[in-house]
Each structure stands twice: as C-alpha cells, then as structure tokens.
Amino acid sequence: MAIRMLYFAWVRERVGTGEELVDPPADVTTVAALVDWLATRSAGHADALAERGRLRAAVDQAFVTPDAPIAGAREVAIFPPVTGG
C-alpha cells in the first residue's frame, strides 16, 4: 500500500519535494529500513538522508524511533531535530 512521505526543513530542500507517494517492497518494515530504501530513489534523497543521526521521524503524526514499524502507516514524515519556540 502506498505511503504518503512528508519531508521538512533541509530534508525537504535536499530531497527536492515536501511530499511524495511511495510504495516500498514488503521487506521494508521499519522506519530505518524505509529511510534506507528511500535513499536509493535519487541523488537528492541520498543526500538528504545521508546522516541518519540527524534525522527524526513520525508515523501517522506520532513521533517514533527508527525501529518503529511502518505496517499500516498512511503517512510517514522525515525531518531534522526540531528547533521551535
């Protein structure tokens, strides 16, 4: 099933879009695996997702760690550490 990917801040800039629909293979079951797979999609993706330690993620708008499952997820967001306030 297709997942709606969202990218924010410099991740968005480097990927080249803030939003895309993706359909990862069945063996991609966690956020970490999804990031690995996304990084193969384009040079922009590879650049944006190179430094895994600087990436954070949310699955269906809930903040998660990289080992979080993505089974059934409709929306996954990848972004840098937040800097609000």
Binding site: A9, Q61, F63, A77, F79, V82, T83, G85
Partner: protein, 150 residues
C-alpha cells in the same frame, strides 16, 4: 481552558492574556514570550526568521503537551500560541501561558511548557541574512531542559 494556535499572524499578546486571565481560578498567571533576536551572533544580524512546521502534527503535539501540563498541575488555563512563516527581529515567535490558583503551579507549568515545546513540537527555524539562508541547529541544552521534566 486549553488554547492552541499555530498561525502566521502576529501574536496578539493583549488578547491572549485577556483569555487566560478570564479563566476560572486564575489567581496567578505565568507567561513566556520568545522573540526573534536581532543580534544573532557571529554570522551577523538576521533579516528574517522563517518558521516551518508540520501542519496537523504540530497542533496535536501542542495539545498533548498542554494536556500533560494539566495532569501535572491544577491549572485554570493553558495557552500555547506559535507563529509560523516569515517574521522580523523583535517580533514574537511563541507565547505560552499557564494560569493557576497559586503561583508555584503557574510558574512551574510555564517553564515545563516552553522546555517541552522546544524539543517535542515539529517546528524548524531558518535564518535569512541578506541573500543567504541557514537552518538553525538543534541545541543540546534544549534536550537537557526537556529531560528535566521526564
């Protein structure tokens, strides 16, 4: 009362304070206001600060944060207003308020809200100086401040 507002309009402090002060049991109101700093250090003065956020998730995160504060302290009101989009030095980025019957709860809840907001709400700052723009890096001190409350 829990009031969450994420919007590009300038923050109307007078109106926000009136809402908080009118909440029942508000004998003490503590607030925190974050301003765009004019003097941004070695890289020179900031012309414009841009705030990007994750629509939907931002409001949900702030609502959850406000609800957590009301379970920790007896509060008559919690307000979190965060501006997004472009803004100028001296303008308000964020306004947080907590009202309670007594001052200890209001002061502690206010500190809690801004500390946790800094690490738990999906906002990203970009500083624009002349022709160049740079994303603000997250500060370890913010994570440490938020950890105090866990």
């Amino acid at each position: 009362m829990i009031r969450i507002l994420v919007a590009p309009a300038p923050i109307d402090l007078t109106a926000e304070m009136a809402l908080v002060e009118q909440a029942s049991g508000a004998g003490a109101v503590a607030t925190f206001t974050g301003l765009v700093r004019a003097d941004a250090g070695a890289a020179g003065d900031v012309d414009v600060l841009e705030l990007e956020h994750y629509p939907g998730a931002t409001e949900a995160a702030l609502t959850e944060l406000a609800q957590e504060a009301t379970t920790r302290w007896s509060l008559g009101a919690v307000t979190i207003v965060h501006r997004v989009g472009p803004m100028r030095p001296g303008e308000r980025i964020v306004f947080v308020a907590a009202a309670a019957p007594h001052r200890g709860a209001a002061l502690d809840a206010c500190a809690y809200l801004i500390d946790r907001l800094k690490t738990d709400a999906p906002f990203w700052k970009r500083e624009i100086r002349g022709e160049s723009a740079a994303w603000v890096e997250a500060r370890d001190a913010d994570a440490a401040a938020a950890d105090r409350w866990r």
